[in-house]
Subunit: 227 residues, 2 copies
Amino acid sequence: MIGVTNLSRHYRMGPTTVKALDSVTFGIQSGEFVSIVGPSGSGKTTLMNILGCLDSPTGGSYILAGEETASLTSDKRAEIRGRRIGFVFQNFNLLPRENSLENVELPMIYQGIPSRVRKERARDMLRKVGLEGRERHVPSELSGGQRQRVAIARALAGDPAIILADEPTGALDTRTGGEIMELFHSLNRDGTTLILVTHDPLIARRARRVIQIQDGKILADVPSGEW
Amino acid sequence: MIGVTNLSRHYRMGPTTVKALDSVTFGIQSGEFVSIVGPSGSGKTTLMNILGCLDSPTGGSYILAGEETASLTSDKRAEIRGRRIGFVFQNFNLLPRENSLENVELPMIYQGIPSRVRKERARDMLRKVGLEGRERHVPSELSGGQRQRVAIARALAGDPAIILADEPTGALDTRTGGEIMELFHSLNRDGTTLILVTHDPLIARRARRVIQIQDGKILADVPSGEW
Ligand SMILES: Nc1ncnc2c1ncn2[C@@H]1O[C@H](COP(=O)(O)OP(=O)(O)OP(=O)(O)O)[C@@H](O)[C@H]1O
Ligand SMILES: Nc1ncnc2c1ncn2[C@@H]1O[C@H](COP(=O)(O)OP(=O)(O)OP(=O)(O)O)[C@@H](O)[C@H]1O
Ligand SMILES: [Mg+2]
Ligand SMILES: [Mg+2]
């Protein structure tokens, strides 16, 4: 389903080049649950942005469901992002003037889902992440962990084939984080591919496989029991 | 140094009132190291914003260094924020068009510190949080954990009497988070008052005292060994 070969992402800053990703290679099958771990600044978000078709590599190849993403039109990439992938961003990226319900509905609007069904699914997903009673709050009227949970609900409400979650429990207490992980696990049991960046070793170990990143390179790619 | 009595913060939303803080009472002495813990949405950031003179309570009193903050002019509150308090925000609040060095210098500009000294201190603090080589990056060119560390460096560079840190290791891997905690600990040993919101029980326990918050109320206020 996902095939990454010699993938690189470089940033030129004057005379220096920052190698955020430096020739990484791996594959992920449909339905897998993979954790991506590594120190701050090691390249995890850079990798997630390329996997989510939000950014293009400067070198190498990314094949998604049989298609080389480099050759896709920007419309086609937008469609993949809208329909196949649910993305939980590290900094949430909520629309500041829309309330929780409207933020969660957004991907489903792009999928052409009718309004009544969208609102019902959005309400349901907000309830599942513990945000009943916060539907009408805009992001500035929510706590940090509540904003994170709106971002999670938004990624899940459209029932995507692949979930890319960039530190989805970073702003949550242990108990709320555990409830979110249960939600992710049940979706994965139903066949959703789950790729999760985390700093929390306890969360990383609950995946079946761990990819360890450092300085833009893959340090290890092992079953979670061996990590 | 800090005396909070029946402190409340309510938000009216149409017919409902959200009691983000509901009559909390406690004192913190100069030089203490206190952790504030509690579930997502329990009122921690709301409390920190009042302690940092960024927000006013709707009820009760907050006495800081002998002065009732409610009676301070807004100039006086700005001066306290600029000179006495170093605040690490949960969502960082960096200036998007300024690079790391400029962001860290900002509080020292308000303190009237000359440019050469500011730059030297800013560079030194960025090095202490592991961001050497990232001085010229603006926030969009930094990872999540790097932005968090710029926010930390900014709070510390002005050598404040009180550090208010709202989940300062939330975006950091265990090792980098540990280095940041060492930095906080050494400042506390030198006499800086440290009030730290955290979701991480391991970090909470390293404080001498833990205040546990739930639904805007204090559930417990105990030595960390008993928590
Ligand atoms: N636009 C950019 N220009 C220059 N350097 C960049 C840019 N974006 C990211 N970087 C650098 O690339 C490296 C990898 O960044 P990335 O955001 O992928 O790290 P990360 O592993 O997600 O870190 P964290 O755990 O802190 O979120 C970092 O060192 C960062 O400074
Ligand atoms: N402007 C506002 N209007 C209405 N409700 C608000 C507003 N700001 C915060 N709240 C509510 O007040 C409660 C406390 O928020 P606060 O940000 O203090 O929580 P927190 O303990 O910091 O949570 P987290 O751990 O998720 O960061 C939350 O339930 C939130 O929805
Ligand atoms: Mg990141
Ligand atoms: Mg908070």
